[in-house]
Amino acid sequence: MPTRISDRAGYYGAWASGLFLTGVVFAIVAWLLVNGLRNVDWTFLTTNPAPGSVEIGVAGGIVAPLLGTLIITAMGTLIALPLGLATAVFLGEYGKPRLLKQLTDTSIDLIFGVPSIVFALFGLAIFSNPSLIFLSEEVQTSGKATAKSFFCASIMMALIALPPIVRSTQAAIASVPNVQREAAYALGKTRFAMIRKVVLPSIRPGIATGTILGMGRIAGDTAIVWILLGGAVLEPPVAGWWEPQNLLGFLHGTGATLTTYVYFASPAGEGNAEGKAYGAALVLFALVFIVNIVLGRAGQRRIGRQ
């Protein structure tokens, strides 16, 4: 047991911070559960938001926003993961030319620090260019692109998911012992073979952690959804959107996610159904939590037979 006053103060200070943080998180979760669970039922999960309702407490279900979150997260991650991996391998294994490495490092930090609404605004300017109409739809009056589609939003989402993926993978690469790299070289392997067969397999947990964090950033983002997806809570997708002939049209169109639904249903938005907002927030929380557990497990799978 520490005896000096300063020593003891440090110990209890650190201890109290841990307790405080745990308390805050538990309070939020409990609040969410108490208020959200009341509103989450099968109908809530399987019906679309109520169209055009201005009546208090009538905001319908969340099937479309839930779908939107899943699609945006999947598409964003799909773009960000290979890009992030390649960037991390460049930074961690090659690192040359040195100037490019430093610039890339700075860029990753910048993306981490800049609020997503800035990227959303930038995306709006880029994607509305007529030459990029293939990413969204044409605005009949001006000939420009709407810049609002699942494609446009996913691309920008990939950008904000990149920093955690790169940093987490980079840290994992740095922890691969050098003797293993040398062992691969000593067997006459090329650098690429060494990276592919020795480095990549052992950094899987790091990649998984980065992916979880990146997915969390995507699922939690509101600004990009609002600007580049339209936040169209009241325009649920047409029936049979998943059929091949409709899918492309659907992905070119606007949509909503759980975050925008929470805003819409909250007292600040149009739906004015606080309970529904809590319900949707709880579902979003549960979703991120489940992804966390599943991917965490996948990353730690025993290494053995390939």
Partner: protein, 334 residues
Amino acid sequence: MEPLDETPQSDELYQQARRQEWRHALDTTSDRRAAGIPTDPTAIAAVPPAAPVTVAPAVPVLPIASQVPVSSVRRAHIADANDLALATRGLRVAFSGNEILHGVDINAPRGGVVALVGPSGCGKTTLLRSLNRLTELAPTAQIKGQVLLDGNDVYGAKVDLNLLRRRVGMVFQQPNPFPMSIFDNVAFAIREQARKRPTRGSLMPAVEQALQRAGLWDEIKDNLDRSALSLSGGQQQRLCIARTLAADPEVLLMDEPCSALDPRSTARIEELIVQLAGSLTVVIVTHNLAQARRIADYAAFLLNGDVIEQGFAEQVFETPTQQQTADFVAGIFG
């Protein structure tokens, strides 16, 4: 520059003596010792009787390790001592302008076991790593002189680096199996970077042969899909040897391969090295003079980046011509 060599790595004999000191200090049942019962039978079986560590006298006395007889029968596996599998000529290596090796000439007769001995920081490891061109992985390394593999300079312009490293395999100080299955560790060495992946069945004979040669097959043949990291330290090191043997090298470089192992595993590896000699040439860096005595046909003593003396192992260890060598094998420094 030479991190592996920088760590003060004591002679095993010294370490054992230290362990016994500790045991003595901690042992409450010292009557066992009084009765002459060995406290650690395995250690005594594998390592020659430990000499008490005392302040070394100024005049070389009987070398500690000379209690171990040198087997001269073993040299039968060397067909022609003038047939050099590997040799260096005027090899100079510097890191950031700081020269570690000052023009080294080493001879490794085909089929022999060559021990490189010398105190920490004398350049043994750098020399070894220059033989398969691992030294140049350090961006600051400058290498001059020749390393001749079958008479051809490995630093020549047309050398295929990846092929060279297959012909001159290497086993490291720490067992470093890859985080894959046992099978994949060995197969990794022989899988060409071809588009078409060879099947497990087609790789199996070579994998089995390599594991047989490394004396590991019988222990793990039913567990080839287990992670290599689940093996014991000694097994991991033999797996690393098997992995290297799978590429069918002509020369095997070993950088203190037993320094991280217990005496029993050390004995296994030494046995293996003696078995392998003849079918390939072994160049081994060792800090353990007793080990060098047990396994080496030839020895080279390095000091501060120069070869002080080299030749038949027993000659270097028993009747050294240089005073520095005599002092080193007598344990006056090291």
